[in-house]
Symmetry: D2
């Protein structure tokens, strides 16, 4: 199954970054549509950074999804449910530190008179088949994800895995009902802890990306899922959601079959304060950070997409961090705050998509960082 | 009244930065003393970054002070109370994001065979007279602070205000008892809100520093205290503590009357993501950041001292921040996290002293940053 | 303007209490409607206890309102906006301690063959005119609220203020835009602190209730609003919402013009642990608590509506509480938790509507408690 | 090994409950000693309810212990360390809701002219041998604890387990160092998760109490520790502390060998709102709660000691609670708040010792409640 690109004719990917006043506020997207800048039917994905806690009781994500579906249903003359099936909605809670709540719209249009470069930003979406509860956090999910990534690459017109720079995966989790369903059919599940199942599902999905992008050779052992943190993808960004029963995959890369002046690149932060990796990511798309990007270069940055995670060692370069011992503020909130600060210092902006929970997404304590920029 | 330097003979200021495992853990200081690296009687001040919330119910600060006083009393053969009178203890709560709990020891010794440079790091301590409750947050406190800064400069052997780069002030606050005391004597107080009195005392103290360092010309109006945020010092760092009845002032600067290979400089962050200001501060002490300091340059950084504050506008460069609307995490905690991330990205270390509450200390939303470094 | 009761013929008020799985979950209301137990058009008000923090960044309230409006719009064949105009939605965030997220539906029907008693539960809704920004937190709001309460009493068929036992008011607050609007017209506002404006609007509204119910004689001075806590209503429950430009008032009481086996009564908690007041409230509706209500009596309780607030003295019966000094958990969250515990202990249920922010609603640190019960 | 009671002659146990202004404030204990009301050498144990979060980064407990040891060392002419060996210090963090920070002193004196009753409050303290890391959370700890309880009963002069009403146990936990130590000796440990080791150590200790008090017959299976929640003690209260390498046990009960007018009793709360159990506990010591204790009866209550825990089912009597899904406030904080409210409503006081983490201490979601009272 595939969508997000017919493969016929030259296409163009456009990216719009707009603010939100609260998680239910979609007025800046409405304004884009009303002004003619965005054709509602061209929207294939919306990423959102909302101001919840990014943890279990973060309802800002679904609140934003509901508002977005209601908005687009109005413009498209359809139902919110149908919008849900057509447009990938990836909400990430948590704007700690100085991060700014915002939406990033990914739109795909016919290229028309878009600028031509050897390669341009390309997007492709694909889905796995329905995953059974007993498959989550296990090799079945790894392999199904890898296959969906390959399908999405085809949808995006990308042949070489090296041309993929960001793979967003939304994946299911276990609930008590799903565990019971598996049991009733005589199956075991990877974990009975539903919260832990989110980590395992993210982990299996990330390993699937790593296999599809040939970041890992051969295959991985099921026992490595969520455990062997030496295995990781430099381009996966995965998140689990209770509303899903299959993995949803969006591939972003550069392709000769697309037009437009956007380009994407990436690097990997080795730890939360890896500023050189931020610079490296910017350099892959033609930007030349010397300290902080100047105003002209800032204006060329269309989106920054990063993952953050507390180092399990309890240390950052030998100095103790307190993220994992803080019973007042969740560890991932601390991690987003510091990574957000490091990136914002370089980029000169705070509307950066930093999300938490980076199992097998970059090394322990680090994470991938992708940048979409306009060519100079 | 003055202390912290006799003015006779050439002195040398040494700075030691050591970790703490918890707010009551002074073992790394004990190890320094036991190894002979630090002479207990040479310690004139200890700054500490503890892992509390930095707000009203942060007891980690006094817990650390108690532990430090007990430790030094043992080495010095005196009482904890006497240590309290001799050694300035400045604890700042809050190691949000990736910040690392640590102590910074300021030691003053006879220069002996210390390295000679045209100027070297100099420290001086002074106190105001006892301040009456009705004087807090008012011009009396501003003026008394300014006078104490001038006295501390003399103690530090610094003639030119331009040679001062960091002024730490600890100041009193109002309690219900103190308000009642003022009333009983027929006096009014600046505020009846004891929490707000902390801000006003910090504000008045910062303006006192600004006057002494000639950052403001002439004088300031009492009505400006805590209100006119266009008035600020680039070098003040003030904090209020319930245990005080007078202002305690420590001046750090460079002086020709001191020896040693340490030097201090400063810059001012205009907002929480002002990375260029971090670079500028590092350059004032001879470091040359290109991205992140390399290992050799990192090793030369003896201490980084910065202030952080949420911009009152609700915006960072036009993008909304949520610090002031978050009822789960206090605004100053967010501010320390992001500023800590920006600085740690450049310096490559997380044991940085970032404290909150920066009234009249740098512009709204920004704050001073001072760096002490070893000469290359 | 009035609604919620035609005044013609005998009416009957029904109350349904149902759980929610999350703030966007309205499935238990849908089930009530689908089963025929509730006629959608009969719903005049929905109170909801959602699991947000009940403070500034609590988006669970509006999330629930959106979901409720969408649900009822479907059943009523109208728009969510129209539902918003017809059905009072009072969401209160915060289910601290053991409180359980739930909805309370207030439905008004023709009496038909409803049980007849001398008096029965009656409901009436009314609205003030649009309130200008400069009127909020001032006598204009007090007086407009009082008038709306009298109108709602007429709508409810209640002549004697003593027959009113609960008055829910939703009221506007000041935003930066509204302050600017007032200024542009040469007006001043009660406060420039938008958060504080919520307290002043609640306070003025509560005093309006107190005047209408003749709990205060004559009038009140504008200077008393939000300050003189010796003035209070035993029956007001007010909350501020940014979406409003007028006060919305719902009166619940007992009236001879209504049928049905529900009755309402109230008492006032003098402090957060005033268990005798809980007992007294239950006794007013014919229940006889001896320790905890037994199962038969529990089943007769249709709804409990209470207000909670931290005592400003910092003490509960001479013992220090820490609610006002806790920078990790907001004071109103502590207050709801303890009051919820006291009430749940007596009632034997946790789906109790305890809301925070009780200015002039009961004495300082206390608050009204109303009980709706089925006759035995 | 035993202490806390010579076994010779008639003894008397006195209990003093005093407030603290902050976790480092011992002035109310100093006042008791200075007034002659308490003989410092008679203090065998101090329980404290401090205002930290009661979780991992709660430093208020050790801060209070340090302050208490320093205070008593001064009065006793010894070192803080020696006080630590002689006086059991049981600090429990968390005064959520309306709970009030306070200390409870347990003092043992010669009976002299103390009142004589058939039985009176008796206290006994005992310690296990040093427990190896590999013994924690396993049968070795269960059995060693059971033996120490029996020893403490002898110290307390209590023959019949039915006369024991409260057993406080402080127990060790695993740290990375201790795990490594076990490994180096070729041993396995019960868990590699150091946080989880706290729960297992509490669990094993509680089962040890249950065996010693014959609440469980025969023995328990090692696999039941921390898992089979149908096994529990109605009188154990256990807490883990990093500073310990053995279990410290304090038994409180009634004995004919003791004098004085204090008596202790207990009951078990079946869930967090089990008000009838609170009443039952009060009745065991001769109090007759009818609603809330009247002033005369309140004055007879010397101490209330209870355990609180979130029900793992996610429900309280069929209604959903949110304790386990709240990523902003830890579950045990919610549990203490609601249980504190239920008890305070009945007792009419908020200086109640409610602590969290009740594995095998009462049924799931419930916990023991003990009351010490003066005879009427």
């Amino acid at each position: 199954m595939q969508s997000g690109g017919s493969g016929r004719g030259l296409r163009c990917c456009r990216v719009h970054r707009v603010p939100m006043r609260d998680p239910g506020d979609t007025s800046s997207i409405a304004a884009l549509i009303d002004s003619g800048a965005v054709e509602p039917a061209s929207i294939v994905a919306i990423l959102g950074k909302t101001e919840g806690n990014g943890c279990v009781n973060d309802f800002t994500r679904q609140y934003a999804v509901n508002a977005l579906q209601r908005l687009l249903a109005g413009y498209l003359g359809t139902t919110p449910e149908e919008v849900g099936r057509k447009v990938a909605m990836v909400m990430s809670g948590g704007t700690e530190g100085g991060l700014s709540p915002h939406f990033v719209l990914i739109c795909v249009e016919a290229a028309a008179d878009a600028a031509r470069w050897p390669k341009a930003l390309a997007a492709g979406v694909a889905f796995t088949r329905k995953l059974e509860p007993e498959e989550l956090g296990r090799m079945a999910q790894v392999e199904a994800t890898a296959e969906a990534v390959r399908t999405a690459m085809i949808a995006a017109g990308i042949d070489d895995p090296a041309d993929v720079h960001y793979v967003q995966v939304k994946c299911p989790l276990l609930t008590s009902e799903r565990v019971a369903d598996a049991r009733a059919r005589g199956r075991t599940v990877a974990t009975h802890d539903t919260y832990h199942s989110m980590a395992l599902s993210r982990a299996a999905s990330a390993l699937g990306v790593a296999l599809a992008l040939e970041e890992l050779s051969g295959t991985v052992a099921e026992a490595a899922i969520g455990r062997d943190m030496s295995l990781w993808s430099a381009r996966a960004s995965t998140s689990a959601g209770v509303e899903l029963t299959r993995n949803e995959v969006m591939v972003l890369g550069n392709s000769a079959r697309w037009a437009g002046n956007l380009v994407i690149g990436h690097a990997v932060m080795r730890d939360p304060i890896d500023l050189p990796a931020v610079n490296a990511a910017l350099e892959t798309v033609g930007l030349a950070p010397r300290g902080q990007l100047d105003a002209a270069q800032q204006a060329r940055v269309a989106a920054v997409l990063a993952k953050a995670e507390p180092p399990r060692s309890g240390l950052i370069r030998g100095c103790r961090h307190i993220m994992l011992d803080d019973s007042d503020i969740q560890a991932t909130r601390h991690a987003r705050a510091v990574v957000g600060g490091v990136i914002a210092g370089v980029v000169g902006r705070t509307d950066i998509f930093v999300s938490g929970g980076a199992e097998h997404q970059g090394p322990d304590g680090g994470g991938p960082i992708a940048v979409i920029a306009r060519r100079g």
